[in-house]
Symmetry: D2
Subunit: 277 residues, 4 copies
């Protein structure tokens, strides 16, 4: 564990992560305005950026810095002997890294991170439902659109809390799986008639599946959209129909930042392990 890690930017998750790395015995430094990039890089083996690594494709996302760190400069100074760990790297950032032969891994693309992040995402979704609804999850009718990683965990947890869970999925095999897992399964063609008496709908499908025709039937149903951009709900139609929609993005960092940090840490250790460091 004789690895020196330089952290540049990142949100509160990255601060928790820094703390955990230090506890585990790593030498970690957080880049500050008083440092020079060259000097800070000299002493490190690994550069760790936040999640997302950049919001403008030019500078590293670093709310704590007054002066921005240019991606181009970072890559040029890193060169080929250091490892870059960054979350949600854009194609452009990857291209720049490759130009300067920087060895990089996007930890957000690792399957284990995606799987483990489903847990705080589902808890956050349930917390929102609990906060927004004047009724209990218990005895409510909850529809889940999509039956991938998040849909599966959400269905199980809502059912445990006593909800009557209906899974809506396009593929025959996804519906078969939902039934094998103990839930009622419907096709999107049956969604309109099912939404009318439902309490809450959680969408996990990342394209517009909750359209105007469905929203017109949904009055009284709370919709929680867990899909990343562009989302799965026709927001304008929802406004027109008077349907409440909560678009919940980045839940792990918001509802359980320490757990989120821990998941990133574990993913990074797996990366270290595979690289033999």
């Amino acid at each position: 564990m004789d690895i020196n890690i330089l952290i540049i930017g990142g949100d509160s998750r990255i601060d928790y992560l820094m703390h955990q790395l230090v506890c585990d015995g790593y030498k970690v430094k957080k880049f500050s305005d008083s440092d020079t990039l060259k000097g800070a890089l000299d002493n490190c083996d690994v550069v760790l950026l936040g999640l997302p690594a950049s919001r403008d494709d030019k500078t590293v996302d670093a709310p704590n810095l007054k002066e921005s760190v240019l991606i181009k400069d970072l890559m040029r100074l890193m060169g080929e002997n250091k490892l870059l760990l960054a979350g949600k790297m854009s194609e452009r950032m990857k291209a720049v890294a490759d130009v300067f032969s920087v060895k990089w891994v996007d930890y957000f693309m690792r399957e284990e991170l995606e799987i483990l992040n489903a847990i705080p995402t589902c808890e956050g979704a349930i917390q929102i439902a609990m906060e927004e609804l004047p009724v209990t999850i218990h005895s409510s009718k909850a529809i889940i659109t999509g039956y991938g990683r998040i849909g599966k965990i959400l269905a199980r947890e809502l059912s445990c809390l006593g909800a009557d869970v209906v899974v809506c999925a396009r593929k025959i095999s996804a519906r078969a799986q939902a039934r094998a897992d103990g839930f009622k399964a419907i096709d999107f063609s049956e969604l309109k008639e099912n939404i009318a008496d439902s309490t809450v709908l959680f969408n996990t499908v990342p394209h517009m599946v909750i359209d105007r025709s469905i929203l017109l039937e949904a009055k009284g149903t709370l919709i929680i959209d867990l899909a990343s951009k562009p989302g799965g709900v026709d927001m304008e139609a929802a406004r027109d129909a008077g349907v409440d929609v909560v678009w919940a993005l980045g839940l792990p960092g918001k509802v359980a930042p320490v757990t989120a940090a821990n998941i990133i840490k574990e993913t990074i250790y797996n990366i270290f392990n595979e690289l033999g460091e």
Copy 2:
């Protein structure tokens, strides 16, 4: 269902309840400042008070009224031919009712209400834990003190959400039940060593079981006390030890008022049924 119900006072739950009773076809009137008590009573068969029915043992609890309704007057005017339904009646109120031969039922004392209220109580407790903790319920260590109605449901739901649940109970048979239900069970003598690495502790025992000696080990543990007055946590010792305690009372009305109203409604219908009305 040719029953006329007069509602006097009560919180938002009672307003939801009124709405539900009307939907089910009952004739319901809410007493207002412009009514006379005598006149309002003339046309009703049942008088429904809130939960609690009174906070001062003299007047009906009625935040919506400028002029208070005296319990004594109400009872005198009701007489023997009407039914009084009230929540958490004090011994004094029951005595006054008996003086005027008023037929009364305290719906809060009905076993089915207590059982069904455990659901919103547990969901509220889980919501608080989700809101307060920087980690997920999943993978956290949750201790539950007491294994009665609330403890049992809470243990099951937390376990479903992925918590590592430890039940702490005094009676051998309660611990045997907890183990049969799939949880680790400990005696109160083992609580001190178990609290140290726990994430959250839910207390359901209605007398002080979380004392200073335990709190001294509990740094970092969030304590959620679900016990009614006087509570189960030594609050002064908690402050001294820097332990966060949330004393969560009356959760059903706060986190799920519509469900809470629905539970009262169902209880009232059971009462009607048994009285043959």
Copy 3:
């Protein structure tokens, strides 16, 4: 643990129990035909009988002995300084023990044993259903009559396996509990219409609740009666109606003798503990 235990009789559970007691460091002797009762008793502190302790109210139940041990003789020779542990003691046996001032505990009457025995009972019931039915538990409709210790665990486990569980109970509060636990709850007056399309019915009520009128609707339903004598099913009416009934008694000893022995052991240790031995 300097306790000498003399075991007289008992079934295979008691043999497993003997093995476990020896492993835990107790000195245990099993009474054989070559022993004299007086001699065997001389060296022991505790006498342990099987479950039931006697089947004829005169002799100790001991399939392994050619010559029977008379209860009367045993009690007389034990006297006041030894402890008798026996299962399902009859009133008569207790009376004889009291005559000779024998200190006795019926371990079968201990609440923790009853609670823990519910587990092998439920697993045994599920095993029988799996063996007898040509369909899976998953997607079947399972009715459970009675919602006490066994009913509650059975409902939870069947539901986990994917059954559609209906709980039938007489008391309003039991039905409220079943609903709080996530199951559909019906009264016995609704059993007739519910049994028609059910796959299996588990009875836990120890008096005749599954009568002729219900059985006439039950064609095709497998009935598993878990109630101890006299049972809860009108067997003659079942035969007439062509309904399959499995009367499953003593499941713990049959389906999981090692677990059953372990439960008795734990109960005995609790008894030792409370007696301060």
Copy 4:
């Protein structure tokens, strides 16, 4: 539903299936020794074979027939206008079908069938464990090797029954999923130390993962191998080590033939639907 179905051969599942198809309104005929193949085919739209369709690659598997039906003859006489539905078709059988331009679908290769069959497979595995073990599933330590369709359902169900479940999987992401689902997850390198105190191991990996070195540690552990040929356990090493192994193949047809038939029926209806028949 004006579809004429000719069934040739098959086991008891196919007989149950025939009954269900008739109930649903299809015209179904089972080929018998008194029929001529040409005559029987004349009146049908669909030919349905069993599972597997053939055991010798030459004749249709048909225990009920004295005279075998040659695959070659069947295909020749079917021609291009009928649909062949068969289970586990060999490459050779598919080739013959293609020679004669027979339209065929192997229903066993459909994803929904594979998913739904996981349910009776898991129940069968649990039934075997219940029958073979002298202890309850509850409180036992159950290891599951492999975390695919069957492993996931089995882990959930065993855990619900109170087992302490350990999932052993090779891929980091599979282990992450197992942990997200609430189970302890280990790598195959940790299996040896975990098997020693385990009660039962269920293997779902279809190549030899339970080798001699692991079996040597496994004394006392019951092994249930759910992997299709060649299986996942070194049987010779198991014999040498005195480890009990149950190789459980084709569980759906054995433990729940009616459910198994129902799953095939549903799959066939999906096929009909997609072909627009």
